[in-house]
Symmetry: C2
Subunit: 316 residues, 2 copies
DNA sequence: TCGCATGGCGGGCAATTGCTCAGAGGAGAG
DNA sequence: CTCTCCTCTGAGCAATTGCCCGCCATGCGA
């Protein structure tokens, strides 16, 4: 087959190989012949296409067991929406399985006819969701960040969820220009006094839908592991009953926000409990069960995307 | 792993196996262990999940060569929209490759904020698109058929595109209660005089977007092969310069509708040329090149989803 | 109750895929 | 100009997958 076109991007070849493999169902030998390369190169291209996330896989069948868990969680915690992804292998990254399902929930919000303001947090699960989103122009919606992404060392973008989502949707987006943790409550307040900051905070607080990860406050709490707080500070929070964290706000086992000097310096927008608009928690994994349950109990989140294993633990 | 749930649907197991395989990336041996079945059964379940269409694969990367073809087609035929899917193996079903791409275009129409009336034709390509659509509730839109689906022998649903789409979208839908071919022009006219029929026809004619297949009029024309017209009638049409067919209306090489006694009996809604709203032709394959080019030339369709090979032929 | 058709199940084998390893080629520093 | 480092390449091999075949259970008619 004469493929006379000059393919400048190396990803083009990968995409083409992935297309032939996944859509065309061709064997790697056939792909190699079609593309005029060696079998090994074809295999590398296909594997690259997968690794680069060029290929998006969705399952159209809702499994009965998951539907039952969704119904039970919805009833028990009076949720506005709930999605349970099938269990993956016990050792696998729990964020991976729920990413696609979370993306479907997000896309449903995008499908609403009215222009939406959508607030997003950060974290591994949100990042996974962003990667699974189907690219589509949605310029009528606005995406706003609930939390700054400036790390203690000044570097940006740990998991830059906002930019990735806005990029896929070509939507206007509003980063939160505030440090995750300021040096003092005064510094935080001075940020919040700035007019542009206030505008973003206002937008976030009146979001039509909110998507957040849920952080746990055990000994390997993300806040501590990512260097936002010290071990001493973590221990102190644990002593005060910290159970979880949503958008940089820490709450106890009943889902009530804690108030400490440290928390007074944290930059995230505080989500008002018991919102009448969906606040979707996206989280799974055995370590997060307590944090998720607390957030559900306190109605900090009123919708949930999780996996089967976590759902069972939440109901146990 | 104790999976104590009773899975009533056999598809549930297939879906779970497919999930573990495609999302979890597990080997069939691991899946077998996880599900507590033999390796062979796991393999059968995974293969079943694929065969039943439970798994939807999309590619997120637009290949440069295809983008160039899209740009050139758009320019040459003054198209409102154009998408070119990468080439598949020469022998493969051309409808398969373009189905996913067509579904993306359709979904973009669904994403419009205003309630849309979407008209659809029939055929293999449309059917493929329907299968690739992502299920999502879109009750604000209406789907209307351009053409009846009553075969000469009275059986319904050759490729019942309308129902499949409406089913996935839970959208109101309007079938066209008219035979594909009536026995006489008078019979056709009497159908069209019925108020419910008129209502559907009106709706179809003012659709905000239209999706149609393109039929060719060679010796193996679908109209003839599916038994809607006889060989003699086909020959007669060919003599009169029939080049293609869209929604049961036949046109010549310059894309002008033909008028014959036979055509006067055909039940499809005639699409007005040069519409100011998108009329998307979904078609690919070497046999269809002439029919597509004619439809483009006559501006019966003003948007196109096709594959690389066909695109090259159209531009040659 | 028996015989036969049907359909699912596991065993085994051939095809396909993924991975590792040694070597080639190219860019950049000295 | 040469050396080194780094990446990419192709070969070979082990793991994985797909498929065919004989077997068994179940259901239906005689």
């Amino acid at each position: 087959m004469s493929r006379s076109d000059h393919d400048p991007s190396p990803l083009d070849d990968a995409a083409r190989a992935g297309w032939l493999s996944y859509v065309g169902g061709m064997t790697q030998d056939q792909i190699a012949v079609e593309l005029g390369v060696s079998r090994q190169r074809a295999q590398r291209l296909v594997s690259r296409a997968m690794a680069e996330g060029l290929i998006r896989v969705r399952l159209d069948h809702r499994i009965g067991a998951c539907l039952r868990l969704e119904a039970e969680l919805t009833r028990r915690f009076a949720l506005m929406e709930c999605r349970v992804a099938p269990a993956l292998a016990p050792g696998a990254d729990p964020a991976h399985g729920i990413a696609g399902v979370a993306a479907e929930v997000f896309e449903r919000v995008l499908a609403r006819p009215e222009p939406q303001v959508i607030a997003v947090g950060t974290g591994r699960a949100l990042r996974g969701m962003a990667d699974e989103l189907q690219p589509q122009p949605c310029i009528r919606h606005r995406i706003v960040s609930l939390i700054g992404n400036i790390a203690p060392d000044g570097s940006a973008s740990f998991f830059d969820v906002l930019m990735r989502i806005a990029d896929k949707l070509q939507a206007p987006h509003y980063p939160m220009p505030v440090p995750v943790i300021s040096d003092s409550a005064e510094e935080r307040a001075s940020f919040y006094r700035l007019r542009p900051v206030r505008a973003v905070v206002d937008l976030a607080q009146r979001a039509d839908a909110t998507f957040v990860g849920v952080g746990q406050m055990g000994d390997d709490a993300p806040l501590y592991k990512d260097g936002f707080i010290t071990l001493d500070e973590l221990r102190d929070l644990q002593r005060q009953g910290a159970s979880g964290e949503v958008a940089g706000n820490i709450y106890d086992a009943s889902g009530r926000y804690l108030e400490t000097e440290l928390i007074g310096r944290m930059g995230g927008v505080r989500i008002a409990p018991a919102s009448d608009r969906p606040v979707v928690g996206i989280a799974a994994g055995p370590t997060k069960v307590a944090a998720i349950r607390a957030a559900l109990t306190g109605r900090i989140i009123n919708a949930l995307v999780t996996d089967e294993t976590t759902a069972q633990a939440l109901l146990a």
